[in-house]
C-alpha cells in the first residue's frame, strides 16, 4: 500500500542542514492501522506529510499503490491526494465559511461534481459520524470534537485508500477523543488503512502496529494486534 525506501527529509537553515528524517524504510500493508509515536520534533508530522504527498522527500523513495510519489508531477500528486488519500489534520483545517456539509463535499466538488450530487454523499457521511443534525453549521458553530468528525467525514468522502491523521485529537478531551478513535477503529475493522500520528499511548493502542521515531530515525516497530482483512 505505502512503501518508504530509505526516505530522508532535510531542511536547510542558512548553511546548516537539519535532518528531520533520516533513512526511513517502512512498508504499510492494506488494512493496517499504524500509529506513529515519538517525542516532539522527532519527525512524525514530517513523515506523515511525505506519505500524504503534502511534502516531498529529499532522499529515498515513497510509493503509494506502487506509484512513486517522489517522482511524479504535481498534478498527478494532487490527484492522488484528492482521490486516494484522506487527510485529517490536528487543527481540523475546515474552510471557515463553508457549512459542515459543504466542507465534507469539498474534495468531490474539486473533482468537478455538481453540489447536487455531492450533497447526499456528504449527508450520509455526516450521519455516519453522528452529525446529521449539524450539516448546516459553520465550523465556528461546532465544538472541537464535532469539527474533527466533520474533518473525518471529509477525509472519507472519496473512499480513499488510506487515511492519514496527524494528532487528530490533539486538543480534545478524553471522552471525545475516544469517540473519534472508536470511529477510526471501526473504519479499520471494515478494512480501511489508517496511519495516525499520536502522542497518546491510549490512542496508539487502538492501532494494530506502532512505530516509534527518535531523532528522525525509526527506533521501534512492533505489531500489537492482528490486521483486519
Amino acid at each position: 500500500m505505502i512503501e518508504l525506501n530509505k526516505v530522508g527529509r532535510m531542511y536547510r537553515q542558512g548553511n546548516r542542514e537539519v535532518h528531520a528524517l533520516k533513512d526511513i524504510s517502512l512498508m504499510i500493508g492494506k488494512g493496517e492501522f499504524l500509529s506513529i509515536m515519538g517525542p516532539s520534533g522527532s519527525g512524525k508530522s514530517t513523515l506523515l506529510n511525505l506519505m500524504g504527498g503534502l511534502d516531498q522527500a529529499t532522499a529515498g523513495e515513497v510509493f503509494m499503490d506502487g506509484r512513486p510519489l517522489h517522482a511524479i508531477s504535481d498534478n498527478e500528486l494532487t490527484l492522488i491526494r484528492r482521490r486516494r488519500i484522506g487527510y485529517i489534520f490536528q487543527f481540523f483545517n475546515l474552510l471557515p465559511l463553508l457549512t459542515a456539509e459543504e466542507n465534507v463535499g469539498l474534495p468531490l466538488l474539486l473533482d468537478g461534481l455538481p453540489f447536487s450530487e455531492v450533497r447526499p454523499k456528504a449527508a450520509a457521511l455526516l450521519r455516519q459520524v453522528g452529525l446529521h443534525d449539524r450539516s448546516e453549521h459553520r465550523p465556528e458553530q461546532l465544538s472541537g470534537g464535532e469539527m474533527q468528525r466533520v474533518a473525518i467525514a471529509r477525509a472519507l468522502i472519496t473512499g480513499p485508500a488510506v487515511i492519514l491523521a496527524d494528532e487528530p485529537t490533539g486538543n480534545l478531551d478524553s471522552h471525545t477523543s475516544e469517540e473519534i478513535f472508536l470511529l477510526l477503529r471501526s473504519l479499520n475493522e471494515e478494512g480501511q488503512t489508517i496511519v495516525m500520528v499520536t502522542h497518546d499511548p491510549k490512542a496508539a493502542a487502538y492501532g494494530t502496529r506502532i512505530i516509534t521515531l527518535k531523532d528522525g530515525t525509526l527506533a521501534e516497530d512492533m505489531v500489537i494486534g492482528e490486521t483486519a482483512s
Binding site: P39, L182, P201, K202, A204, A205, G207, E220, M222, I224
Partner: protein, 186 residues
C-alpha cells in the same frame, strides 16, 4: 481494607457461598486484583466477628456442609458509608520496576534505557489487549455490568498510560543528564 468492602458489596447483591463469592469477585475486578481462597475465608471470618456477615449451613449429600454467607443490616450500613467516603490514600509506589530503577547503574545508562524501551513496549502491548477487550465488551453487551467493565478497562489504560508517560520522561531526563555530563567533561 477494601477486600472486606468488596466482599460486602458482592454479598449485598445476593447470598453466596465461598466458592461463588470468589468467582463473582474474579468476574468483576479480577482483571486487576487476584485473591486466593485463604484470603477470602480469613476475611469472611473477620467480617463475621464484626457481625457484618452471618452464615447458614447448607446440607449436601456426600460432601461436607457448605456455608452460605449473607450480609447483616449492620453490614449494609457499613458498606453504604464506605461507598460514600472518598479514598484518602494515593497508589503506593512499590512496583518491581521502581526497585530496579534504584539499583541500576546511572553512569552507564545503556542497559537502563534498553529496559525502559522494553518496559514501554510491554505496557503498550498490554494496552492494546485492554483496548481490544474493551471494544469486545462494548460490542457484546449493553448493561450496567459492561459499563463497569469498560470503566475498569479505562482505568487500566489510564494507569498504563501514566506509566508509559513516566517511562518516556525517565528516558528524556536520563538522556539529558548524560548529555550534560558529556558537555561538562569537555
Amino acid at each position: 481494607m477494601s477486600i472486606k468492602y468488596a466482599l460486602l458489596a458482592i454479598l449485598a447483591e445476593r447470598d453466596l457461598h465461598g466458592y461463588e463469592l470468589k468467582s463473582s469477585f474474579d468476574h468483576k475486578v479480577g482483571e486487576f486484583w487476584s485473591l486466593n481462597y485463604g484470603q477470602i475465608y480469613s476475611t469472611l471470618d473477620r467480617l463475621e466477628k464484626e457481625a457484618l456477615v452471618t452464615h447458614d449451613r447448607e446440607m449436601q449429600e456426600k460432601r461436607p456442609d457448605r456455608k452460605i454467607f449473607s450480609i447483616t443490616p449492620q453490614g449494609r450500613e457499613e458498606l453504604a458509608e464506605w461507598l460514600a467516603t472518598p479514598v484518602g490514600k494515593i497508589r503506593a509506589l512499590r512496583d518491581e520496576f521502581f526497585i530496579k530503577l534504584v539499583f541500576m547503574d546511572k553512569d552507564d545508562p545503556g542497559p537502563l534505557l534498553a529496559l525502559l524501551d522494553k518496559q514501554k513496549a510491554l505496557y503498550l502491548k498490554q494496552m492494546s489487549k485492554l483496548t481490544q477487550r474493551k471494544m469486545a465488551l462494548k460490542k457484546a453487551a449493553q448493561g450496567p455490568d459492561s459499563l463497569t467493565g469498560e470503566l475498569l478497562m479505562d482505568a487500566g489504560l489510564f494507569h498504563a498510560e501514566a506509566d508509559i508517560r513516566w517511562l518516556t520522561l525517565c528516558e528524556a531526563k536520563l538522556k539529558a543528564a548524560v548529555d550534560r555530563k558529556k558537555t561538562s567533561k569537555r
